[in-house]
Symmetry: C2
Amino acid sequence: MGPPLGHRERKKQRTREAILAAALARFDERGFHATTIPEIAEAAGVSPRTVSSYFPAKEDLVFPETEETFERLASRLADREPGETAVDALRAWIADEAPRWDAADAQARIQRRIVASEETLQAHEQHHKARAQRMVAAAIADDLGASIDDLEPQMAAAATFAVLEVLGRDVEEREARVGDVACIAEGTVDAVALLDRALIFVAAGVRALQDDPPGMG
Amino acid sequence: MGPPLGHRERKKQRTREAILAAALARFDERGFHATTIPEIAEAAGVSPRTVSSYFPAKEDLVFPETEETFERLASRLADREPGETAVDALRAWIADEAPRWDAADAQARIQRRIVASEETLQAHEQHHKARAQRMVAAAIADDLGASIDDLEPQMAAAATFAVLEVLGRDVEEREARVGDVACIAEGTVDAVALLDRALIFVAAGVRALQDDPPGMG
DNA sequence: CACGATCTCTGCAACGACTGCAGAAATGCG
DNA sequence: CGCATTTCTGCAGTCGTTGCAGAGATCGTG
């Protein structure tokens, strides 16, 4: 399936992960801002220039696979069959991605902690979320036969993403509260169930708006 | 009402506005990233060090009164009387702020154009919006007697803010489409009316969620 | 294995944003 | 006018980021 992994590709992957591991460790220990690129480079055994080459921006070290994640969402939305709604695609995507957000994943836990500690990173994350939200809004607009600029798809997408916000915070809190990994895994919320609950909200809202068209004046 | 404006304060205000005007002009002409602090300083007739002193971060030149705007929202939410809901306070705030967002304001138009042209600035704006949204969610949670971590206030706030998104885009589009200021002013959407429409969505959604409590398992 | 072709890593130099500091300049007050 | 306070400025330094060119590693091939 995958491309033939030569010695070269393998080494690149190892280097990338070494840089990432070194960066996350320092970020978690000393903070994002207080950690310098040369520090990370030394810890990873490469030159500073190489770090900047692998990760064009320092923030990319905190969101290493955001791009791929959103590309998966875009694919799901684009490749859905005629009968499949945008929400179906979103549900499938969430079901696929949920394991990655699991609090039991140490990497993910550290990342959430780092993001929570720096305004810059929160801004970055908000931007990523907004991008995904726009994609979903466009797909919902398509389902509804509406324009992307209409109120319904915008609010539906916004409300839907609010649930992901809650989901993320939930994971964070549970992580902060307990240290026992087993306990964490046991209490993990069902992301899809939460999404379905969000959709009750969205469906009712959209229906109400459609039953009560805007007054003319 | 205000503090006694001496010669000193007055001059500071003038300097601040000179820097801001110079910055906005260059940003609009050459782009945010391509414009350097020294350029702005020279155009404003001050030293680069002074620019950094007035505006600690370059982005602050694009969002000069965001802080005050959100403080006004926070005040409205905090100071509401027992009978006044969070939504009432939000409506009052929007009614107050709407003139500032009017497309007829050249300053606001330029700002929106600049923000639209740079990812960094969009990220910043998203972060600001997210902060405001959290404030509103907390106030709505208070109204509902719910926790800030519950689903309902989160989604209500998210859906409510989606309408502001639409509002902003609407202003942007109208600005792009026509150049005639009179035409713009005439077509300005009624922000409060749009908010009330959003609240139809939110109210129906919240009601649906309350009528259909989460299943236990 | 050897060898050229290709790709990667590295050091260098430069630019721009940002900051702390100390002296110069301006302002307010008696 | 003379003094205290505030503001502005230039300087030096750190850090992130980028372009470039040469050193080094890897690859495919003979």
